[in-house]
């Protein structure tokens, strides 16, 4: 994981739920196919626009809903980090455990312009327009959570600790 990343921000509103990102019907599909349905209803066509290195920014209560592994779909699409004004705690843990950084930064969704390029400092929990502008400060993740991210998520950590037959299994 890079500590500071620059990428294009896609901005969403409040209470975006998991079923909007990983609809029930997509659970029958392969990861590649399922990934083409992220935000299928909120923002049709988005999966054709998002590119490797992009960042998803959302408002309050981001990811309310089920434990389905939405982070895998974001990773499949090349999304490198999630930022929200407030995360549902299950969604936040689920993302981090898959190795996808999830950073809480108040006012992010109302301040960041959609499709603009931003600079995100993951351990520092700050975001700002890449071309200069106000820097928003958030709540840094605890050190051991950053460690999980540094290892690429929980599975590589379990593999390193000898719980899995093959290192890095299951992405």
């Amino acid at each position: 994981m890079k500590d500071v990343i620059e990428g294009r921000a896609w901005v969403f509103g409040d209470s975006v739920d998991t079923d909007n990102m990983y609809p029930g019907f997509a659970m029958k599909l392969s990861l590649q196919e399922a990934a083409t349905h992220v935000f299928y209803n909120l923002r049709p066509g988005w999966t054709g626009e998002v590119a490797a290195g992009d960042i998803v920014v959302a408002g309050r209560n981001f990811g309310v809903g089920s434990s389905r592994p939405v982070a895998q779909l974001f990773l499949e699409l090349g999304v490198v980090a999630l930022v929200a004004e407030e995360f549902n705690s299950l969604f936040l843990r689920n993302s981090i455990n898959f190795g996808l950084p999830a950073v809480t930064i108040p006012a992010a969704a109302t301040t960041i312009a959609d499709a603009s390029t931003v600079r995100l400092d993951i351990p520092g929990a700050t975001i700002e327009p890449a071309g200069g502008g106000a820097r928003l400060m958030g709540t840094p993740l605890p050190e051991f959570v950053l460690d999980i991210l540094a290892q690429g998520g929980l599975l590589p950590k379990l593999a390193a600790d000898g719980y899995l037959p093959v290192a890095g299994a299951g992405r």
């Binding site: 209470s15 909007n20 029930g24 209803n41 309050r60 309310v64 089920s66 434990s67 592994p69 455990n97």
Partner: protein, 415 residues
């Protein structure tokens, strides 16, 4: 320093004297539940696990397997159970929705910590347990190591007053809370107070289950005599309850007078800040009515459905789908005649599974259809087409809609 119920349970799990909002604690997990979906995707057999006696495997979301992928998951689950000697295995035939099976078998006990992949694991908070959903990778990790971490959230206390009228259920209490107070993201809920004595265990479980819909971390009840009686019947002992300390710090204390509540309904999309008394909703015709899920597929829900439909019929053009939450509930509903009453009235009684609740393998909605459900979620697209509308209410209100063909206050049908 005084603690809330959840702070006490997490402190005990972490081997600490105290835990308070804001603390990060690493806890031993007493029971971990793996579900079928876990084996259908992402699964790799581990080299070792923490403790087969603190593990249960429950086949629930997609049984009997509707896809080859799910069937292959079943093969992997059975092989895993054999290899590690997991005794608590609820295979197809002994199955049920995991939160129902957890309750029936006393897998969630007062003062203990229970985790499972599924987001409605908070259901077990009805039994004075710290239970929550954690996602497939984390649950896998707990299976291996026996531990995980929690950041202790501040707790909101609901003080229940008065006595619940017969026509009001746990669903109505929950919809009232969600509709009135909105989200509780990154907070725990604790319910208690003198009114709790009028809320039976099935209703407590509905409320605890649906804590997920207001985005709460843990939702927990005290273990009163009603709860201890329930547990004694299932585990043959009276466990030690965990009570909140006097003077525990709450983020908010809110009073709910149960005696004043009426049947409630949530409008489509979400429940937080989106629910109202059914009597205030404009009349809305319905195509499909669903009574089931981990929240409301309990035997008490089967009884309410049968009581409402006895001598009445499902309205023409309406589908009423009833899904008992487990094989045990199914068998009991057959023995009590609920199934016969429902089928005679034109309802469909299905196998015990998640099914229609999450729009995966049966009972899906088409574009333009209107559904009223007693399940857990009314997100857009949850039960099929994103162009369908999903209202949410109690089994009694759902049954009333099935009879009337439109959403009405169940007291009008009972009239």
């Amino acid at each position: 320093m005084s603690m809330t119920i959840i702070e006490k349970i997490l402190a005990r799990g972490a081997g600490l004297e105290e835990a308070h909002a804001g603390d990060v604690v690493v806890c031993d997990v007493d029971m971990t539940v793996l579900i079928d979906l876990q084996f259908a995707t992402l699964w790799k057999d581990p080299t070792r696990i923490a403790d087969p006696d603190r593990l249960a495997v429950i086949m629930d979301h997609a049984v009997p397997a509707p896809t080859i992928g799910d069937a292959d998951g079943g093969v992997r689950a059975r092989a895993f159970v054999r290899r590690f000697g997991i005794e608590r295995f609820f295979d197809v035939g002994r199955h049920g929705i995991c939160h129902q099976v957890i309750a029936e078998n006393g897998l969630a006990r007062p003062g203990e910590i229970l985790t499972c992949t599924d987001s409605h694991t908070c259901a077990a908070g009805a039994y004075n347990n710290a239970a929550r959903g954690l996602g497939p990778i984390e649950v896998y990790s707990i299976m291996c190591t026996g531990k995980t971490w929690f950041q202790v959230a501040p707790t909101i206390r609901y003080e229940l007053l008065g006595a619940k009228p017969e026509v009001v259920s746990g669903k109505d209490i929950f919809l009232h809370i969600a509709g009135t107070y909105g989200d509780a993201t990154n907070h725990n809920l604790e319910l208690g107070g003198p009114g709790l004595a009028s809320v039976p265990m099935n209703d407590r479980r509905t409320i605890a289950t649906q804590g997920a819909e207001v985005s709460a971390d843990f939702t927990t009840f005290p273990a009163d005599e009603i709860c201890l009686d329930f547990l004694q019947e299932r585990i043959g002992e009276r466990p030690e309850p965990v009570e909140a300390d006097l003077g525990a710090a709450y983020a908010a204390v809110r009073q709910v007078d149960l005696s004043e509540l009426t049947p409630w309904v949530a409008r489509p999309g979400k429940v937080a800040d989106n629910a109202l008394p059914v009597s205030q909703l404009e009349r809305r015709r319905v195509d499909q009515c669903f009574i089931g899920s981990c929240a409301n597929g309990q035997i008490e829900d089967m009884r309410v459905a049968a009581e409402m439909l006895r001598g009445r019929r499902v309205a023409p053009g309406v589908r009423l789908i009833v899904t008992p939450a487990s094989q045990a509930v199914y068998a009991q509903a057959v023995r009590e005649g609920c199934v016969e009453t429902l089928v005679d009235a034109g309802a469909i009684v299905t196998n015990s599974t998640c099914g229609a609740c999450f729009g995966y393998h049966m009972g899906l909605l088409g574009a333009g259809e209107v559904c009223i459900t007693a399940s857990t979620r009314n997100f857009k697209g949850r039960m099929g087409s994103p162009d369908a509308e999903i209202y949410m209410a109690s089994p009694r209100t759902v049954a009333a809609a099935a009879i009337a063909g439109e959403i009405i206050d169940p007291r009008e049908v009972l009239g």
